[in-house]
Structure formats: structure tokens, C-alpha cells
């Protein structure tokens, strides 16, 4: 049809606290934050643990998990996503702790269910910045 370029999708703008997460994704690895006091694990949206500890360390995660909830999106927020409609957004519960908002790719949208086992795959979206996506395990 026309050769209007598809605009770029929004990509993360890592800050000091989250850069190691996105950098690991660019290398095909998933990292979580872990509390050095109680061992709780979470995604890097947290900078302190509920136990009161503020000393968090990075730990490697397997990238495996299950679909906690999902939706098949038929109306995109931005023209960058229009070519992929309909696409699946899911909250993935990681087996190593914490949950991530992401997409489930590599399968039909109607194959996604709550509880579906998934594993992380990674897309590099910028210099040292990757994002985790998930595909049926």
C-alpha cells in the first residue's frame, strides 16, 4: 500500500536502578531483585523490600513462569502496534518470584490461557536495552 514507515514502539528508558535489568535482557538473561535480608524476590519496580531492607541485589532468574492473567488486545494504543493486532498482553508469574507485564508471542492468541507455562525470549530494542517477552514453554 503506502510505504509510510511504521513508527517505533515505545522502549524503556533505563534509570540507574533499572539499567541492569534491561541490559541483561539485551544479553538474553532475566534478572530479578532479591532482598539481602529476607530473600524475597521482585521485579525492579521495587527499590526496597517490604521487610524494611533497602539492600537489594541482582539475582539470575530462569525466565520460566506461568500466565497469571492475559488479554487479547484488538485496539492498539499507538500506530506502532497496529500491524500486530490482535496481540496478547499477559502478566507472567515467574517461577523465581515476581511478576512481569509482557506479551505472549509465538502462538495463536486464542491458545493463551491463565496457567499456561511460558518461557522468556528477548528482543533487543536499543543499545544495551532488551525487553523480555514470553512464548509457550
Amino acid at each position: 500500500m503506502s510505504d509510510t514507515p511504521i513508527p517505533a514502539k515505545p522502549s524503556p528508558s533505563p534509570g540507574d536502578a533499572t539499567a541492569p535489568f534491561w541490559a541483561a535482557c539485551a544479553e538474553g538473561r532475566l534478572r530479578l531483585r532479591a532482598c539481602t535480608a529476607c530473600g524475597a524476590r521482585f521485579t525492579p519496580t521495587r527499590a526496597a523490600c517490604g521487610c524494611g531492607c533497602t539492600r537489594l541485589e541482582w539475582v539470575e532468574a530462569s525466565g520460566r513462569g506461568t500466565v497469571f492473567s492475559y488479554t487479547v488486545v484488538h485496539r492498539a494504543p499507538d500506530p506502532a502496534f497496529r500491524a500486530e493486532l490482535p496481540y496478547v498482553i499477559a502478566i507472567v508469574a515467574l517461577e523465581d518470584g515476581g511478576r512481569l507485564m509482557s506479551n505472549v508471542i509465538g502462538c495463536a492468541a486464542d491458545a493463551v490461557r491463565i496457567g499456561l507455562p511460558v518461557r522468556a525470549v528477548y528482543e533487543t530494542v536499543g543499545e544495551g536495552v532488551g525487553v523480555p517477552k514470553f512464548t509457550p514453554a
Binding site: 528508558s13 484488538h74 492498539a76 494504543p77 511478576r99 491463565i114
Partner: protein, 384 residues
């Protein structure tokens, strides 16, 4: 510790701005018009008001919005702030106004919420809303998450947990429409059926177009003051008998469980303070930007068992004459995303002044706001 403010705070005036579907009006103009209406309803002039609390309009954002509104209205404010609590902002505004009044920092506070999203947003409203937002969220935007998508994730989890069906959600839209159909000026008032909801375009599964409120302009305001002062103003005095807030994390993925605990937290506080139980409430006005939000809110407020929200709406309990007439205006599902809509209606119901959809003998009304895909909640119980 001072005596509890509850029972000593009143809502003395309510008002709305006139909405145009064609003319673009600014959020400021809409707030000013609603504010003037609320002050006129109470019978006070701007110089008799000493506080302004507004929401932060997302479709028409402006730095220091509450200061703009106070300036335009010439209100000599001693208390003035703009709240960022999305759909919970109007209710939070009432709570902070009450706190300021109880602390002696102000005596009469205008709380308003307005936004310009209707005539201003051309074409695809979901894209227009995204384009109006000045920030990118690293944890959600790279994946193409939308506002309906957030509520859809909550809905999918609710259906999974309770064996719910899209028909349960559709029942909320049908119930809202029945209240709307009785009002000649309602923007959505053609007859609606469950099949029609399920046949409307899929937006983000399981939410169809008719599970979502229209994107619109709005302006609404309430005037908060002391019961003592309210006695000299427009009768009857409507008192804030109890209220509570609930807070969950911003990111849906970070919330421990879905639905979030925010509404259960705010409801427990409000009912405890007011010393009443859900069965004592005569009418409920709850946030319904999406059907699933009102459905879960009714469960979490205690009007039915968890999982029974669809049956509550489908079975006529929320209709006039039902056990808990709900969203008697037709709600946001009818009028557009005017979060504030719950407040003036709850006040009018208690006054006995709600017109064609008045709940006969209503003495206690509950108003419930929700913000940020159910992460924030504010519950208020009003009575004479």
C-alpha cells in the same frame, strides 16, 4: 488526637458543567462552570470559600491546575492542591477537604474534577488518550498495554477465579442503560441487551466496546464544609458519615492479587467509621468506566458475595426498587468518563432530589471512586 471529623463534615453544594459533544472546552472552563454551579447550589459566593482541591486532568493537563481554577473563580484559598489519583481523585478530594476543615485550616472547600477528552480527541480515542500522556512507562508501554487492557487483565482474572462469563460483565452495561433510558438527555439511551454488548467490537478481551464508557468531556464539583455552616445554607444537610481510602501498587503486575485489595480496604474503613453495614445502604454510586470495575466494586464493597457481582446486576438488585439501586444516573457507562459523577448523585439521593431516578426514602448513600485500574479506591458514606 482530635474528635473524629466524621459526622461533622457536610457536602453543601453540588454542580456539573454543561457538556457539548461538538465544542471543545478546556478542563479549566469545565471546572469553573461546575464549581460555580456547586457554589450557587449551596448559596455561597466564591469569597466565602477558602479552599480549592481539583483533580489533575489527563486529557488536558496543566501545571498547577488547582491554582488556575482558584484564580479564575477568585477564591481566596487557604488550602489548594491538585490530586493525582486518577478516577479516585474526586473522592480523595473530599477526604482531604474534610481533613483540612477538621484541622481548622479551612472552613469551606470546593472540590472539582473536570477533563477535556471528548470533542478535543479526534479519531481513535484510545490512541488520543495515549498521545495526551506525556510519559512512557517502562514496564507497560513497550508491550502495547491500553487502559481497557488493564481492566481486561483484571476481568480475565476475575472470570478465571469465579467461573465468570462475559455475560456477567454485559449485565452491568444493561443495568446502567436501564437507568439512562428514563432520562431524556442521556447521551446513550437506546435499549441495550446482553447480546448487543457481546456483539459490539472487541476492545481487549473480554471487554467489548459497550463494556467501556464513552470518552467525553466533563466537569463536576461539590462544596465541602462544616455541618454547623451547612445548617445556614441550602437544606437538607448531607453529612459525611464515614470514608476510607485504599491503595495498591501502581503497576498491575506488582499487585499481590487481582482484584486489588484497595476497595476492600476503603470499604472496611468507611463502614467501620460510619457504623453501618452494606445492607443499611439505600443506594450505591460506583465507578463504572468499565463494566468489570463496577461489578468487582459491588462485591468488594460487600453488596454481594465475591463472584456474585454479575448476578447482582442481572437479577435486578441494582435497579430502582431492587435491594441496592446502583448508578442511578446511568453512570460513566452512559455519560462518559466523568469519575466525579458518583458524588453529586449520592448527595442528591440523600436530599431526595434525584429526579426521575430517585430511590424512594433513601437515607444512606454510598459513593465509590476507583483510580488507576483499581489500584486506588475511596469509599464515602453519606446521610442526613
Amino acid at each position: 488526637m482530635t474528635q473524629s471529623m466524621y459526622g461533622r463534615i457536610a457536602i453543601a453544594g453540588v454542580g456539573e458543567a454543561a457538556i457539548s459533544t461538538t465544542q471543545v472546552r478546556t478542563a479549566q472552563d469545565l471546572a469553573v462552570e461546575a464549581g460555580l454551579a456547586a457554589m450557587a447550589d449551596a448559596g455561597v459566593s466564591p469569597r466565602e470559600v477558602d479552599g480549592v482541591i481539583t483533580a489533575s486532568p489527563a486529557g488536558d493537563p496543566h501545571f498547577m491546575f488547582s491554582t488556575l481554577v482558584a484564580e479564575a473563580l477568585n477564591i481566596p484559598a487557604r488550602v489548594n492542591m491538585a490530586i493525582q489519583a486518577a478516577g479516585a481523585s474526586p473522592g480523595m478530594g473530599v477526604l482531604y477537604a474534610a481533613r483540612a476543615i477538621a484541622a481548622g485550616d479551612a472552613h469551606t472547600v470546593l472540590v472539582c474534577e473536570s477533563d477535556s477528552r471528548g470533542a478535543k480527541f479526534k479519531g481513535d480515542k484510545i490512541q488520543a488518550m495515549r498521545a495526551a500522556r506525556p510519559w512512557t512507562d517502562d514496564w507497560e508501554d513497550p508491550f502495547g498495554l491500553t487502559v481497557p487492557g488493564k481492566y481486561a487483565l483484571v476481568a480475565q482474572r476475575w472470570m478465571h477465579r469465579f467461573g465468570g462469563r462475559p455475560e456477567d460483565l454485559a449485565a452491568v452495561a444493561v443495568a446502567a442503560r436501564q437507568h439512562a433510558m428514563r432520562q431524556p438527555h442521556a447521551p446513550r439511551k437506546d435499549p441495550l441487551t446482553v447480546d448487543k454488548v457481546l456483539g459490539s467490537a472487541m476492545i481487549a478481551s473480554p471487554l467489548h466496546a459497550l463494556d467501556c464508557c464513552p470518552v467525553a468531556d466533563w466537569g463536576g464539583a461539590v462544596l465541602v464544609t462544616t455541618v454547623e455552616r451547612a445548617r445556614d445554607l441550602r437544606p437538607p444537610v448531607v453529612r459525611l458519615l464515614g470514608a476510607g481510602e485504599g491503595h495498591s501498587p501502581y503497576h498491575l503486575a506488582d499487585i499481590d492479587d487481582l482484584p486489588p485489595a484497595a476497595t476492600r480496604q476503603s470499604a472496611q474503613a468507611a463502614f467501620g467509621i460510619a457504623g453501618v453495614k452494606p445492607s443499611d445502604i439505600d443506594t450505591a454510586q460506583v465507578f463504572d468506566a468499565f463494566t468489570i470495575a463496577a461489578l468487582i466494586a459491588m462485591e468488594d464493597l460487600g453488596f454481594c458475595e465475591p463472584g456474585a457481582g454479575g448476578a447482582l446486576f442481572a437479577g435486578g438488585d441494582t435497579a430502582l426498587g431492587g435491594s441496592i439501586p446502583t448508578n442511578t444516573t446511568g453512570g460513566m457507562l452512559t455519560w462518559g468518563n466523568a469519575h466525579v459523577i458518583v458524588l453529586p448523585e449520592a448527595v442528591r439521593q440523600v436530599r431526595g432530589d434525584a429526579g426521575i431516578n430517585q430511590v424512594a426514602g433513601a437515607e444512606l448513600a454510598l459513593a465509590h471512586g476507583i483510580g488507576g485500574p483499581m489500584a486506588l479506591a475511596v469509599t464515602m458514606i453519606l446521610g442526613k
